[in-house]
């Protein structure tokens, strides 16, 4: 056992209290155990970290209720986070029930789901919450039995002493609540885990399979109205005028009006990204009536012109001008080519790349492109709001309540403690629901109509009014010497409106001469987190480029990468290399072994490999592609993952399998294009989603076994799928594919 000394000083407190009916409620605040998450990732963290608390409720009849702090969007935190508490508390998982916590960051910590951060953020605090409570229960038993506390042991919710005394946690819970909070307690050694590392089934599965109303769209109260927003048809447009006469005549319609989301000069938070500022709103009694009546609106639109945004932040306010340009995919591509030819921002330079390229025996240069991607969460954006002069209640699917609350407080002119946000289960998130503009919209609409309102986006609204993965491009160059050694590496990447480059990632550190540059083109098309947006583009581009370089060097693609990683470990170049070369190599070796790479028996497959590190975990895939009905089909996948200790192995496997399917789907089909500012895809008939018959027959997932603190899985397995698919396609078609989505290019060459 590890002795864990938590600095329970004045900043941190541990409070236990009796709850009605007897029992122990332990509320722990663990500022000290917080590690700030990886700041290099796309999801910026709020300026101020809240304190973290874990909630444990034990009733006199020995039931244990654990509160899940983070919103659930399918990553299974409602099961896996409480498993950590239950492990250290040492209870029988069968007696545990789980509840989603309220939004209370003082008690429950940062409460955001995103950036693969839940495990990383909560591992230590939740272990401590469990261990401290266990210690208090032991104290209570020791006092009752008049024995030294060191002699009281626990097992699955039972306290016992060698003299034969034993009691259930429930029997001691009340007393434990009055025991002073321990300053020191023991954490289990990983080898003693009985819950963590043992697959537990999704605690909400029964509700899901029986159709219980667990999602935001299912939430409803008496007298609730339905609201929809008619947004401009094109990016760069705004409302000029409207005529709602016909709409208002339709049955069930209460009101049609316009609202401004943010007044001029409103200081936006980092996640207050929104697509359109002026809302043309239809409110009525039921979904169908509002949907139908909205079609009768006569709205005229005009060019919006440049938009001035005021963004608040750590270093004060900044004014950002968003250009009013009406964009088309064709003009976007042209503009990207122009920018790519210009000098860019230097992101990292090691030694003398220019000279190395000049003196190289061979230079390989390739350019990769990726389109905007829409999240297409299965449950479209929606939120319930009931706002009065005194308070606001908001209920629905959301990844980060703490990021939107300050905005709501400002918009509604209410103190934060009068704003209650309840997080329902989300029908998918993928980063989209970190942007809470739809709560602001719902709140303003409710205030205006003075009633409880459900704001609902139709699928079309959701797809054409999105916060997309940016459109990216990158040009990679590699210099080989006369012995075909990789001596220099150069990446210059750009995007609309941000560049994708992570300058300190592999192969930085593994090549003598290295250069990374980035550029960006401002745009009115809204973008944001998308299952590691930059990484999923990079992993496609860089990992298929490295494949090509390996081939030019006459090396096996896995061996080539392993040699580079060896170099990065033994004689790293430069500073700030973000990855651990051993762990990176570890997933490559594991996937090589598990897939029988280069071994007989796989001749029927076109095999592609890729590995990537992002959001603190490592992932590698081997994709086995065949031709089926004349089309490329990924029949088999082998995955190797290093995310430290795997809390809930079967659920983690599910996540990885899902990421693989998502990666195949998005690399083959995903694209959101524009014509005169108008998104050209609006629903699943023209935004192709991967379907069951296109999913592999098997996805064999393997985890590296180690005792390192756990990191997340939401993002990491996703990016390298793109690269592995690209590399398998090359094997199949004998030519490289540089532009996503691959399906379009594949069809062109067939």
């Amino acid at each position: 056992m590890n002795n864990d000394k938590t600095a329970l000083d004045r900043r941190s407190f541990l409070k236990a209290s009796l709850i009605s009916g007897g029992g122990l409620m332990l509320s722990v605040s663990w500022l000290s155990s917080f590690k700030a998450a990886d700041k290099t990732e796309t999801l910026n963290l709020p300026d101020q970290w809240a304190q973290l608390n874990g909630y444990i409720l034990i009733t006199a009849d020995n039931k244990v209720k654990l509160i899940c702090p983070n919103p659930e969007f399918g990553q299974n935190v409602m099961t896996s986070l409480p498993m950590i508490v239950a492990e250290e508390l040492d209870v029988d998982w069968k007696n545990v029930t789980v509840e989603m916590g309220p939004h209370d960051e003082v008690k429950l910590g940062p409460q955001f789901t995103g950036g693969s951060n839940s495990m990383k953020m909560y591992w230590k605090p939740l272990r401590e919450a469990g261990a401290a409570a266990r210690q208090m229960l032991r104290e209570a038993a020791a006092q009752t039995w008049n024995v030294p506390v060191g002699e009281v042991t626990t097992k699955a919710g039972i306290l016992s002493h060698s003299n034969g005394k034993s009691a259930k946690y429930g029997d001691m819970a009340s007393k434990a609540a009055s025991v002073p909070v321990p300053k020191e307690f023991q954490l289990k050694a990983p080898k003693d885990f009985t819950i963590v590392r043992h697959s537990k089934k999704n605690v909400e599965a029964q509700k899901i399979v029986s159709g219980k109303p667990v999602f935001g769209l299912d939430y409803s109260v008496d007298g609730m109205l339905i609201a929809m927003i008619q947004h401009p048809p094109a990016f760069g447009m705004k409302l000029k005028s409207f005529d709602a006469a016909e709409t208002l005549k339709m049955p069930g319609i209460k009101d049609v009006f316009t609202l401004k989301l943010y007044e001029d000069g409103f200081e936006q938070g980092g996640f207050d990204t929104r697509t359109f500022n002026e809302l043309l709103v239809v409110v009525g009694k039921s979904t169908w009536e509002v949907m139908n009546a909205r079609k009768k609106l006569i709205a005229n639109w005009e060019a919006a012109g440049d938009l001035k945004n005021t963004i608040g932040g750590r270093n004060g306010k900044t004014e950002v001008t968003v250009p009013g340009t009406i964009e088309s995919t064709r003009t976007q591509l042209q503009q990207m080519q122009e920018y790519a030819a210009k000098p860019a921002q230097l992101l990292r330079k090691d030694v003398d790349p220019e000279a190395a390229f000049t003196n190289a025996a061979q230079v390989i240069e390739r350019t990769y492109n990726g389109p905007f991607l829409a999240h297409n969460c299965m449950e479209p954006m929606n939120f319930f709001a009931h706002v009065t002069d005194e308070k606001a209640l908001l209920v629905g699917p959301l990844q980060a309540p703490g990021w939107i609350e300050p905005t709501l407080a400002k918009l509604l002119n209410l103190p934060a403690d009068k704003i209650e946000i309840q997080m329902t289960r989300m029908g998918g998130g993928f980063g989209r629901r970190a942007y809470g503009h739809y709560l602001s919209e719902a709140a303003l609409i409710s205030r205006k109509v003075k009633a409880p309102v459900k704001l609902m986006y139709t699928r079309e609204d959701d797809m054409t009014y999105g916060i997309y993965r940016p459109m990216y491009t990158a040009t990679y160059r590699a210099a080989l010497d006369a012995n075909k050694n990789l001596i220099a590496f150069h990446v210059k990447g750009g995007g609309i409106p941000e560049h994708p480059i992570h300058a300190n990632r592999f192969p930085a550190g593994a090549v003598d001469h290295y250069l990374a540059e980035g550029w960006q083109i401002p745009s009115n098309i809204t973008i944001g987190a998308f299952r590691a947006p930059r990484s999923n583009f990079n992993a496609a581009a860089e990992q298929s480029f490295l494949d090509e370089v390996a081939e030019a060097a006459g090396k096996d693609p896995i061996e080539f990468r392993l040699e580079l990683l060896k170099r990065a470990k033994e004689k790293p170049v430069g500073k700030n290399n973000e990855y651990d070369a051993d762990r990176y190599a570890g997933v490559l070796e594991l996937v090589r072994d598990k897939s029988n790479w280069n071994k007989a028996g796989n001749e029927k497959y076109n095999r592609g490999v890729a590995a990537y590190f992002c959001h603190n975990s490592y992932a590698a895939h081997v994709v086995d592609m065949v031709t089926r009905d004349g089309q490329p089909y990924v029949e088999r996948v082998f995955s190797a993952i290093d995310c430290g200790i795997v809390i809930n192995p079967d659920a983690a496997t599910n996540m990885v399998q899902g990421a693989v399917v998502d990666g195949i789907g998005n690399s083959f089909y995903g694209a959101l294009t524009h014509k005169d500012g108008v998104p050209q895809q609006s629903n699943f008939h023209n935004y192709r989603m991967i379907r069951i018959h296109e999913a592999p027959k098997s996805i064999d997932v393997h985890f590296v076994q180690n005792d390192l603190d756990p990191t997340g899985l939401g993002e990491p397995p996703f990016p390298p799928v793109f690269g592995a698919v690209a590399n398998a396609l090359y094997k199949m078609k004998g030519r490289r594919f540089y532009n996503q989505p691959f399906k379009e290019e594949v069809e062109k060459v067939i």
């Binding site: 899901i208 399979v209 667990v214 979904t287 998502d662 018959h693």
Partner: protein, 159 residues
Amino acid sequence: MAKITLNINKKEYPMEADPQMPLLWAIRDLAGLKGTKYGCGVAQCGACVVHLDGEAVRSCVTKVSRAAGKQVVTIEGLSETNSHPAQLAWQEIDVPQCGYCHSGQIMSAAVLLREKPDPTDQDIDDAMAGNICRCGTYLRIRKAIHLAADMQKKTTTKG
């Protein structure tokens, strides 16, 4: 507006509805049963699948008038104690991620399991191709349908 009585899960729901209203919204908004999901509204995703006289239909494009006088079964009424083999197998295999697509998936699977009690992977892919799962749980859906088929056989032999 017309007076329509829907029979959903063997219960009568008298309602005032536009006969053109999709059955989906009658079920969700008027009958208040939220298990049937909206995903696309245009017969593309299968989130809204219900049974109409035993046949799987996409309720988002089925007019409520067509359902009058027929038996509508939604996920809430698929079994009395949530014990349909598909519901049990889905939990056993731990299929759901976000879970949003799965009432539609299960309703489609239930018809497949009735029509083809011993489906092959190909049968499953054919029958389930209309149900999108954005989270990518397709491999587990296949596995769960096979398990449900086994469970179903055992119950039938016993009965």
